[in-house]
Symmetry: none
Subunit: 190 residues, 4 copies
DNA sequence: AATGAATGAGCGTTCATTCAT
DNA sequence: GATGAATGAACGCTCATTCAT
């Protein structure tokens, strides 16, 4: 019971934090603003988090973990097929579409964020890259360098997600996804 | 003469700004720090720029313009050959390697920057994408969507440049460039 | 019974308050800390006291009253002899040694304490001074001003008690007491 | 010139600090208040002092140093006579009368003040006590313990100064001084 | 033109107090 | 009665900007 209430309030604060941080950026975000967005008093935030910085970190970590976890599930349920890359693109587009706040913040972790968090994100990102590199090894030509290919794949996705997330221009994500997969699979040469 | 002196001082401030902003991030950078790095008094900056925000904008704009300008030259001097993409990758790597300060800031324009600057950067980026899309139309298969391909290309470059710029891990850029070009040209499939 | 329980809890809070206030000073003491030291919930304190300030006042008052009461007893049981001053010194040293928390706070009532409490302490102090002045009148030379002599006596005691209470340097209180009494009785001149 | 201006402003801040700290106590004093009392902006204080704590320390130190310095002069110019104790009492009364702000603070250094400052004050106080003990050795009976006598002397002075400083009751300091000297010299016994 | 001392708006955080359970 | 989660007023300090020199 009690536990449920506390979990709920914690989630409300995290959600408000994601919204405000993503709209204002870390430095310009005010704890006041996050508190009133979450519908709690300013002091309440400090019952759940040590301070602004830890609040930011927790939010990023939970968001990124949710993405990674679901991405891994997605990969596992996909059959043994190169189409897994298409699935990944689709999933990424959908996840980021549904979690724009977190997406914005993950794509551009403030350069000034403490070294620990930056490093944490870096490690997480490389876990994803390793995952992708393994898939490239499995389905790709032996001519391609798996790590470079994985990096490139992630870069492509991020570039298009960013376009969608930051600029509020709606693309037909399905069509884009298909086209991007084609390019990644076959290259641009005739 | 006088003009020359002023230009010099302006450049000194811009250079100092790039260094400090890139090291500290926009919000944590202090005008004091930029002034002493530039070797001028704090008040002097306000003789050349309206304030912190405009200083940041001018710096970004000049940096990005320099990149775009030289990129266009590079494209024009490159022969009529698909190898132009390889040249672009090489050029990007080199430019970013030599202008890491600007590179960092361009890659992660603070989310908080005013809408005008974000929009300005967006327009500039799309000029580059159009340029790239034209090249795709010229040398690529008719099966690929030129805009998506251009986006993907830029994403790949940025992803690898970011790795190099932020993490101080030195890659052998030449080798990476070659591998990336192969993937972009032929895709990952066997 | 109920009454007994309440009294006990009240005493526990007062004791905890004396300990914390004396260790941290009035302003730096936190009600949280006092509550947990007393082994009660934070809200419980407010069932027994109006707030932080009143808690402090009650504690001081009870401590001071205990001192004055016992001091008066001590004086009454002492025979009709100038040695009563020696007894007073001994008693003060012993009392303060056993109630260091209260001693610290009485010696240095925070300047910020509300005027009422300061005035209350002042009145109590002057009751003691009157008591002492009467003794001076009784046993001292007619040349000395009883009030000034009483003030001086108290000052001497406080000065030495403070040294002992604040600095944790253990003096041989008996020896000191003897020496101080000699000086007060005979003066420093040969 | 410039130096003069800066020194003046520094002094103005120190004076305002003494006034506010002595009226409100350390913790309740607000930097805002000190600034406006000094007639400067809040930020200006931070150009001259590192923060609230250092401001308090500097003020105490300069005040105490001024007292000690002048006290030593007073002792030296006093002839070789037991009357030096009378001079010390007079001087102390006068100094504290003219520097009530500092006097209040010296008498009751907040218990919570950082250990360094408390220790610094303690050392200074013991320098004075040594000075007094030497005088007792010089002019007093061989029967008295010089250190205890010095402590007692200081205690007497402080007790009466405190009465005067805190309670704004004006005594005829000259008369008190004479009476106190008599007691200290001859004791209270007939 | 160049400077840097002065300024004060702005914000993260603490903690005494309240009140629903 | 007893509790402790929630609250928000309060304050020290920072730093972009101004302006007298």
């Amino acid at each position: 019971m009690m536990e449920g209430r506390k979990k709920e309030k914690r989630m409300a604060i995290l959600k408000a934090a994601a919204s405000v941080f993503s709209r204002e950026g870390y430095e310009k975000s005010r704890m006041d603003d996050i508190a009133s967005t979450a519908g709690v008093g300013k002091g309440t935030i400090y019952q759940y988090f040590n301070g602004k910085e830890q609040l930011f970190q927790e939010m990023i970590k939970e968001g990124f973990d949710a993405f990674t976890e679901k991405l891994e599930q997605e990969i596992q349920v996909s059959g043994n097929d190169v189409k897994v890359f298409k699935k990944i693109i689709d999933f990424s587009f959908q996840f980021m579409e549904m979690n724009k706040d977190i997406a914005k913040l993950i794509i551009r972790i403030p350069v000034t964020m403490d070294y620990q968090t930056v490093e944490w994100v870096h490690i997480k990102k490389h876990q994803i890259i390793k995952l992708l590199a393994d898939l490239v090894r499995q389905y790709g030509s032996s001519e391609v360098d798996p790590l470079v290919a994985a990096h490139g794949f992630l870069g492509m996705i991020v570039s298009l997600v960013a376009e969608n997330v930051f600029l509020q221009k709606k693309y037909e994500l399905d069509a884009i996804s298909e086209k991007m997969f084609y390019i990644y699979a076959n290259g641009i040469l005739p």
